[in-house]
Amino acid sequence: MSQAFVNALADLEEDRAITMAEDRLEAGEDPLDVLDDLKKGMSIVGDRYAADEYFIPDLMYAGEIIEQISELLQDEMPEQEAETVGTVVLGTVKDDIHDIGKDLVYFMFDLNGFEVIDLGVDVPVQEFVDAVEEHDPEIVALSGFLTAAFDSMKETVEALEEAGLVEEYEEGKVRDGRKVMIGGGQITDDVRNYVHADGFENDAPAGVALAKEWTGKHMEA
């Protein structure tokens, strides 16, 4: 492990981190070790974000740095099966194209060991249904910023219920099996109940914490 490299990543020193990654690969180091450090550095970034030391621009910047280093690593790395703590199907719902919140959720979930299937923005109801059938996730995460998203979320959950992919909603009760999480700037518990979701959060680290709680329970069940 290179502590200096991990620090450069954690401190978002773009040029320095990339040069160091290049140097290590050129020196013949195992790309998996570099990847390991990349994860360590980004894990610190995630912690700082959760602690309100970093903010959205910092995470976006981190995303850019990850992308560049991943590109360097890609050519030299063997395919690997990553272990996951759970699978999440994620998307911004129909009639809403806001992507920042969703991308932060992706970043934080990915960082915390979830496999995230990102369906993008303005995702039609049927696309969620198909993706849930295909990927069998523990959690369906619906993102939306606009008021219009409330109804799209509701329709999406209804379609999942109709397809038998989530249990029927009961007020005051969290589903036993697959769960639905919603998030966005205007989301409150009223909206959660309206949408028939099992939980809601307004920021990505809290979403991760809730997902971990859920998947813990899920595995016990």
Partner: protein
């Protein structure tokens, strides 16, 4: 800047209804009573009750049973919606402005691609979506810095309007300083087909906008003349948002914050006089002292506290100060959460203004800003959309209990689109 304070609208002239041709004396008296209530609330001058300002974009349209697309493509339907809205709710102020719902046809004529709108990109029953592309690239900073207005005219306009490509070949106005030798180079581009096409499209869109103004603007004037003061006057933005919203985009400006902070700061300084001028000229054109300033990219989470104090607040404060110098009334609308910004923004220049919040501890906001500004907000859309009227009444009553009746305006937390009409009614009734 040539305007003097005495030339322009003030809270006093607005309360009087200066320039409005009222339909009768009763309408004038009603107008003045409503405007006085609002002005008293702003000044903390013992209003007869808390006023409601139902800041709205598409709510009146949805309230009247039309889709937003119908409203954007049929001026008569929009006209009917506005009249129905006022008739049904008898609001304290008319909380809507024509530019927020422009003619969809005119937007199509110029090929506006900054937003999707209902009927063009967005579903007919939904609302706007800002596309937030990097209309101004990193490489454009230098041109922008040299001459922002020239860059906007010849660099930005062709990017954001698909049918105005030809504006890229528009002549530089500086040519005209070359005496007679400057005239030919100035005129020549107007002989070129792409420039001519752009101008033809502008002429057509201008006619469509004029029709919109006559029908919809006429209705707004009629509503005022029947006794309802308009709470929208001018508009401007925080300089950081001016760059971030429509020039660099959210991602673009966030990366600038990290990768080229010095250049960004310089650009913010460069654009600040334009933000000031936009607020003043739009307010003067509307003859209304309220200058709406929606705040976007400085909310909690969007930057650190230190970045807010460096990149966002000083230039916004300069805008506020310049507006106050002319006795205009800035109406700061803090979208998103503003909890961590309160202490910073409490360093305010002196003068009447409104701070309207979406997501904040309103009691704390009142404690920190209440001596200097009127606060407004923050009935959540989640409540207005998903709950029953009783819950709305309870929320509004609790809120007023918490913040008091002085220097407070009851308002939704966002510019309202969808909401249950019975919940909106409950909000109006909560203060009556």
């Amino acid at each position: 800047m040539s305007q003097k304070a005495t030339d322009g609208p003030t809270l006093e002239s607005w309360v009087e209804g200066a320039g409005i041709e009222f339909i009768d004396e009763k309408a004038k008296a009603d107008y003045q009573e409503r405007a006085q209530r609002f002005a008293d609330a702003i000044r903390g001058d013992n209003p007869d009750r808390v006023p409601v300002n139902l800041l709205s974009t598409f709510y009146p349209v949805l309230h009247a049973g039309y889709t937003p697309a119908e409203a954007m493509y049929d001026a008569e339907k929009l006209q009917d919606a506005l009249l129905t809205f006022v008739d049904d709710l008898d609001p304290d102020v008319f909380p809507w402005a024509l530019p927020t719902v422009p003619s969809g046809t005119a937007l199509e004529t110029v090929g506006y691609n900054g937003f999707d709108w209902p009927g063009d990109g967005s579903a007919p029953e939904t609302v706007y979506q800002a596309k937030e592309r990097e209309y101004m690239g990193v490489e454009d900073y230098e041109d922008f810095m040299k001459d922002p207005t020239d860059f906007i005219l010849r660099g930005y306009v062709p990017e954001i309007f698909d049918s105005l490509d030809g504006m890229a070949q528009f002549p530089q106005s500086a040519n005209l300083t070359c005496g007679i030798a400057g005239v030919h180079p100035y005129l020549l581009p107007f002989g070129m087909p792409p420039v001519r096409e752009a101008i033809e499209n502008l002429l057509e869109a201008g006619e469509q906008a004029m029709h919109w103004q006559q029908v919809v603007g006429g209705t707004v004037a009629e509503i005022q003349a029947s006794g309802y003061p308009q709470s929208f006057g001018g508009i401007t933005l925080a300089p950081y948002d001016m760059l971030g919203d429509m020039l660099r985009g959210t991602r673009g400006i966030m990366m600038d914050l990290k990768r080229r902070p010095d250049q960004l700061l310089e650009a913010i300084e460069r654009i600040t006089p334009l933000a000031i001028e936009m607020g003043i000229s739009s307010s003067f054109a509307m003859n209304n002292p309220l200058v709406f300033i929606p705040l976007h990219k400085g909310a909690d989470g969007f930057m650190s506290g230190e970045e807010f104090e460096t990149f966002y607040w000083p230039s916004l404060r300069a805008v506020i100060e310049a507006l106050l110098e002319l006795d205009l009334v800035p109406w700061l609308f803090a979208e998103g959460c503003y909890e961590t910004r309160l202490e910073t923004i409490s360093d305010l220049p002196e003068g009447e203004m409104i701070w309207h919040f979406q997501d904040i501890d309103m009691g704390r906001a009142k404690d920190i800003l209440g001596d200097q500004a009127c606060i407004a907000g923050n009935v959540p859309t989640s409540l207005l959309n998903t709950r029953e009227p009783e819950a709305v009444t309870e929320y509004c009553e609790d809120l007023i209990e918490e913040v008091g009746t002085e220097r407070f305006v009851l308002a939704p937390g966002v510019g309202l689109d969808e909401a249950k009409p019975e919940n909106v009614e409950a909000m109006f009734q909560a203060v009556r």
